[in-house]
Symmetry: C2
Subunit: 401 residues, 2 copies
Amino acid sequence: MPNKKISIGLFGFGCVGQGLYDVLNESQGLQASIEKICVRDKSKKRRLDAGRFTYDKKDILNRKDLDVVVELISDTDAAFEIVSTAMKNGVNVVSASKEMLAKNFAELFKLQQQHKVSLIYEGSVGGSIPILRNLEEYYDNELLQNVRAILNGTCNYIVTRMELEGKDYGEILKDAQANGFAEADPWLDVSGCDAKYKILLISVHAFGILLKPDQILNLGIQNIRYEDILYAKEKNLRIKLISRSEKIGDKYRVFVMPHFIDKSTELFNVMYEYNAVEVEGAFSCKQTFTGKGAGSHPTGSAVLSDISALTYNYRYGYKKLKKFMNGNGIIPDATKSLDIDFNIKVYVRFSNKSEIEKLEIVSIEEEYKSAKNNYIIATVNFKSLFHFCGNKDSKVFICAI
Amino acid sequence: MPNKKISIGLFGFGCVGQGLYDVLNESQGLQASIEKICVRDKSKKRRLDAGRFTYDKKDILNRKDLDVVVELISDTDAAFEIVSTAMKNGVNVVSASKEMLAKNFAELFKLQQQHKVSLIYEGSVGGSIPILRNLEEYYDNELLQNVRAILNGTCNYIVTRMELEGKDYGEILKDAQANGFAEADPWLDVSGCDAKYKILLISVHAFGILLKPDQILNLGIQNIRYEDILYAKEKNLRIKLISRSEKIGDKYRVFVMPHFIDKSTELFNVMYEYNAVEVEGAFSCKQTFTGKGAGSHPTGSAVLSDISALTYNYRYGYKKLKKFMNGNGIIPDATKSLDIDFNIKVYVRFSNKSEIEKLEIVSIEEEYKSAKNNYIIATVNFKSLFHFCGNKDSKVFICAI
């Protein structure tokens, strides 16, 4: 293991970028320095000298003396451009951009093989929780059965406060935005999109299947009301946005939606901005990894850990993914492995029936009507839930039971 | 990563050995076969053909065609003999014998360097929880502050059932023995000894300090009564046997003892035979790993994961340990880094004062006397607790607050 000093070119100096800077400054074990930081906004006041920054990505990408490019920006297209250029130049990359990774995975995988470089991205999923490397290395030969996880800190923060404070969604969301726990435009988080990108990456490392983002159902918490929380509470349940990736025979079910969960699972006790990943294997039984899922320093320390891993030439082995590849180097289309044709029991709260006419209801178990709202407890065809996925107009709240 | 078939020589075919056999049989990713199994008892009926077994360790140790020796026996001296011989022969070893590892660590470390072999032992701590490798690799450059863990499944099983069923220690212990959750001689577990060996190994990988077992205080649950549990319950607390390894400035505090813990920590919800390890870093904040801490298949799958890691030449880097070594290859005496001279607040339940006369009491906060028992809530000098460590005659129950 060479103990040389690592030279870093950093893209982005927002929340995570600054977190990385702090963590790196305090780190004792790793000899590393950020040589240059590329940012977009010239007018923004920064906490470091102007000389540390550049506004031209070429100032980093064209340098020959850097060991690693760390990409921590929010613009997905720009992130892909940066990451792929660095890889083509033969430079190892650490990234925390889940959306970019999820949308361009096949291409990024190919570039890793072609240019013999390493791309690692632990910070993109579960903040400081070391889940991807554990799935890749530790659960390598374990007969993994399923992964169930709370992967979005914003959603968990909102439902936790709604429950504990007895307040409605809008009020808590506003407060969360004021306190830095939700973005000005919260859609990516509350719609379950962010969690979807993460479960896509988890599915690659857990099961070796690569899906496209639009193959994965994401129902979010954007339509939740306090009355839904109360319904759960009366039954000693909690509502959590759960991301699932499960093996059922030869098929896989991968989706994100709110779930009623009970005390018997560890996920019940995961509150506020915490994330948790429950991994179940045929032999290891259930194991749960819990930690802060977001935030400047926790994510910064995950990124630092990736940088550190590069010092001993770590790269994801993608052993499970490669098993499906038959040696031709092309990741197979996982569509035929994906099971979306099954029935699932759900709680559906709506105002009038027209809102749920696209739902393929198999059977209704309970039906509740009042002046204020209606709900049904029903078994529905999973596929028909896609009508509500990413639908900004729908006001229906759907929760798995 | 070579994909050749791995030949295993196995020592021990008890609970974990049989678990490994099952897990290996079902494993898809790993090409491995157990070539020979060395056991002690000729008279015991085995589930496999007699031809699979040998009673002479040389039948494994003298073979030149084995890739790995897996040591899963209970006799500590015999285990050390086997493991060190295999290493001297240049064979990689996987072991789950925490007592053997803790008692012979310096020697085993030296053998790894001298003979350029790998000794890995994830199965020795926390059953299926991948804690050592994470401490070693993932938290490499994280400013780790402390590790607090539930590491003994037997103790946690007993206190859980005492609390939930309102029964006394003796009754639950008997039942636990009948159900396979406690040994016929439970001392190693209930005294906190087993947990001590594990926190010793954790301290090596978390902080790079190697202690001797007798430098680590272990107070167990052997003297617990239902009234102690009730005392905790009335205050919304639980009693758990907690192993701690903490950095305080330049010093370390490492000890095992029962603790009253409250709802705010994840450890509160860890019940029955489950283990959990809480890792706190300056930047990553608290992270918790939870899973089955013992049992045939969970531990077997941890052992399998170690075997699998050997296929890509994994070995512990011991980066933190090596930092203290100044290049001379000798692990320094950690005694001077160990802090045992501090005050700690405890609950002490006893029958009469003579039982606790060796306790150096700094101040007493509460005192309770009754015909049945007495307790005090006091601040005591930590060092004086060693008088009660491993003391089979003492009936005093001591619990940190």
